[in-house]
């Protein structure tokens, strides 16, 4: 028999006590790790969205906000569409300070046609686009031909397979990486393809346009401002100069969400700290209360030749082991919940969530593991001190 066994038995021999401590550690580590992952996922989501939009200003028809906000389409994947006259693009080009501009076309798939949910279809202009193509290239390097599409990561369609939209067979030629935003449930296509789809929808009796010809409409225009021009001023002059449209500064659109996000991640951080502190205090109390219960056991160990140091080590190691096991379990449980259900959490929270890659997640897991594991010895330090300094003679006189 070894001393390790004495320690092991002191843990498993008191299942209730050990389990209570273990439970605290599981809760603590799940909170610390889960909270950290959720808060970086939120930050990642917003960052990737900002990067992907790539435009300084987005112009939409004025009526758009009454239907579905662009924000919702982009962030939460709420499908929607709106149109304005194609002419507007020309008017925008004439505005002082506009460098590049490119139109996009929105459409929504018909219910239960290709996918279990309605899917946002986003068409872009192959010739002028600067916002979609740069990152679309990660998935597909060629030029998108007629009826060729690139699908978001959340759609089940695989590359090479086809998808039927309004009776038109579209071939998926690429699949995008996860962004954690509404873009993950979208389909991207060239503008010709989308115009064709709008027509196909009409021939099926699903009218998305009132009178116009699909060739005469656009949904939104992405604008890049010339260097040296103030984006806010350009936005203002668009809003003043062109009727029937609203220009939104991309940043301010995201800022609303970013503000919400910083509040959330701030409270998550506060919550993590509170849970950690609370658990540490509970553990401190538990260990202190246990001193009396363990006195006799330690007096016996002392009597058979344990040094004070060894007695203290016995307490510290015991708490270290429990906290380590608890942390591993807590982090494991958390990983099993947060990662697979991040989509659900995202939808419920209405915020983009981009879970960190395995390496980053492992880093956080390790940090949480360390934070929880050291809490045990910290919380039991006083108890270890007291138990290593017991008056063996007196305790072993006191009888049972």
């Amino acid at each position: 028999m070894s001393i390790k066994r004495v320690l092991y038995k002191s843990i498993v021999g008191k299942p209730l006590r050990s389990f209570a401590l273990l439970f605290i550690c599981i809760v603590m580590s799940a909170a610390v790790y889960g909270g950290a992952v959720i808060s970086v996922s939120l930050q990642n989501g917003i960052d990737s969205l900002e990067q992907r939009l790539g435009a300084d200003i987005i112009v939409l028809p004025e009526s758009a906000s009454e239907k579905v906000k662009l924000e919702n389409i982009l962030l939460q994947g709420t499908p929607g569409y709106f149109y304005m006259d194609k002419d507007i693009a020309n008017k925008l080009a004439a505005i002082n300070g506009v460098d590049k501009l490119s139109a996009q076309y929105f459409l929504v798939s018909a219910n239960a046609e290709c996918c279990t949910v309605q899917v946002q279809i986003i068409g872009f202009d192959e010739d002028t686009d600067f916002s979609v193509k740069p990152w679309l290239r990660e998935a597909y390097s060629g030029k998108l031909g007629k009826n060729e599409i690139v699908v978001g990561s959340d759609l089940s369609t695989r590359v090479g397979h086809s998808l039927t939209l309004y009776g038109v067979e579209c071939k998926a030629v690429g699949k995008l990486e996860t962004t954690g935003t509404g873009l993950d449930t979208a389909i991207y296509a060239g503008s010709d393809t989308v115009r064709g789809l709008i027509k196909a929808a009409e021939s099926k009796g699903i009218s998305v346009l009132s009178k116009q010809d699909p060739a005469d409409v656009i949904s939104s225009v992405y604008i890049k401002v010339k260097d040296g021009y103030d984006i806010d001023e350009v936005t203002a002059s668009i809003n003043l100069g062109i009727d029937g449209v609203q220009a939104v500064r991309t940043k301010s659109m995201i800022t609303g969400t970013a503000d919400k996000l910083s509040v959330i991640s701030g409270s998550v951080r506060l919550l993590i700290t509170a849970v950690w502190l609370l658990s540490a205090v509970i553990m401190l109390i538990v260990f202190t209360v246990l001193i009396n219960e363990r006195k006799r056991e330690f007096a016996v160990l002392r009597a058979v030749g344990f040094s004070r140091r060894r007695l203290a080590a016995q307490v510290l190691l015991g708490s270290l082991v429990i906290c380590f096991v608890g942390a591993v379990l807590g982090i494991g449980i958390c990983t099993a919940v947060v990662f697979p259900f991040s989509r659900l959490i995202e939808r419920k929270a209405g915020l983009p969530l981009l879970t960190p890659d395995a390496l980053t997640a492992a880093g956080y897991a390790f940090a949480a593991l360390a934070a929880v594991t050291v809490t045990g010895p910290l919380a039991s330090a006083y108890s270890a001190y007291r138990l290593s300094r017991i008056d063996t003679g007196r305790i072993l006189r006191e009888g049972d």
Binding site: M1, E297, V300, A303, G305, F306, R308, R309, R310
Partner: protein, 226 residues
């Protein structure tokens, strides 16, 4: 091993009473390999206190304890603990089993401390000698007082110590078991250990080479000579 205690005094602070209570005053005692030394005396006279001081568990207020030429209370706690564990066996006056370990593991406990890594069978001989074989894998919680007593005696033997300190080892035992215990202690002495027994048991007299009586904080010899 020769244990020499000189000028041992001990006083305790007592809760509720101002000042200190002098329990031992200037006591000398010599213990020697091969001898069984018996200490008796009234309850509360300080026998356990002296035994604890001799065994290295309790630091005296004054005086010295030498194991051969080692002044034990000059050692660091770690050194003294190791020395106690290697060379002495201590049988406390009260029940003293670790509840989470089995009887066998309790007996092996001192061997674990010195890292000898004795396997479970090392306890078999002791289990048999003290009639605990059938209880080897039981938890102490299910043992009778006498069984627990024999457990803590068996435990004191596990590292083949050179000195054994037994504080009322036959407290919960019947005559037959008391004899068994005294015989084992006698045997240990005959095998070269220095044995000290604190006991009121009349039987103990039969096995002792030297008998002391504790009175008013010091020892007086009643029988035998060293």
């Amino acid at each position: 091993m020769i244990i020499t205690a000189r000028n041992i005094s001990k006083s305790y602070k007592r809760k509720g009473i101002s000042g200190e209570v002098q329990v031992l005053c200037s006591t000398d005692i010599d213990l020697e390999s091969g001898k069984v030394c018996l200490i008796n005396g009234r309850s509360g006279s300080g026998k356990s206190t002296l035994l604890n001081i001799l065994s290295g568990l309790l630091c005296a207020s004054g005086g010295t304890v030498h194991y051969d030429s080692t002044d034990v209370y000059k050692l660091s706690d770690t050194e003294l603990s190791l020395l106690r564990c290697r060379q002495t066996g201590y049988i406390p006056q009260v029940q003293s089993a670790v509840g989470t370990l089995t009887v066998r593991e309790n007996i092996l406990l001192p061997s674990a401390v010195i890292g000898k890594g004795k396997d479970r069978f090392a306890a078999d001989g002791l289990l048999e000698r003290f009639g605990l074989t059938e209880l080897a894998d039981a938890r102490p919680g299910s043992l009778s007082g006498g069984e627990l007593r024999r457990l803590s005696i068996a435990r004191a033997f596990v590292n083949s110590p050179q000195a054994i300190f037994a504080d009322e080892p036959t407290n919960d035992l019947d005559d037959e078991n008391s004899r068994l215990v005294f015989e084992q202690l006698r045997k240990a002495a005959d095998g070269g250990a220095a044995v000290v027994i604190v006991s009121h048991d009349r039987l103990a007299q039969e096995y002792a080479d030297v008998v002391y009586c504790m009175q008013q904080g010091s020892l007086s010899r009643e029988k035998g000579r060293i």
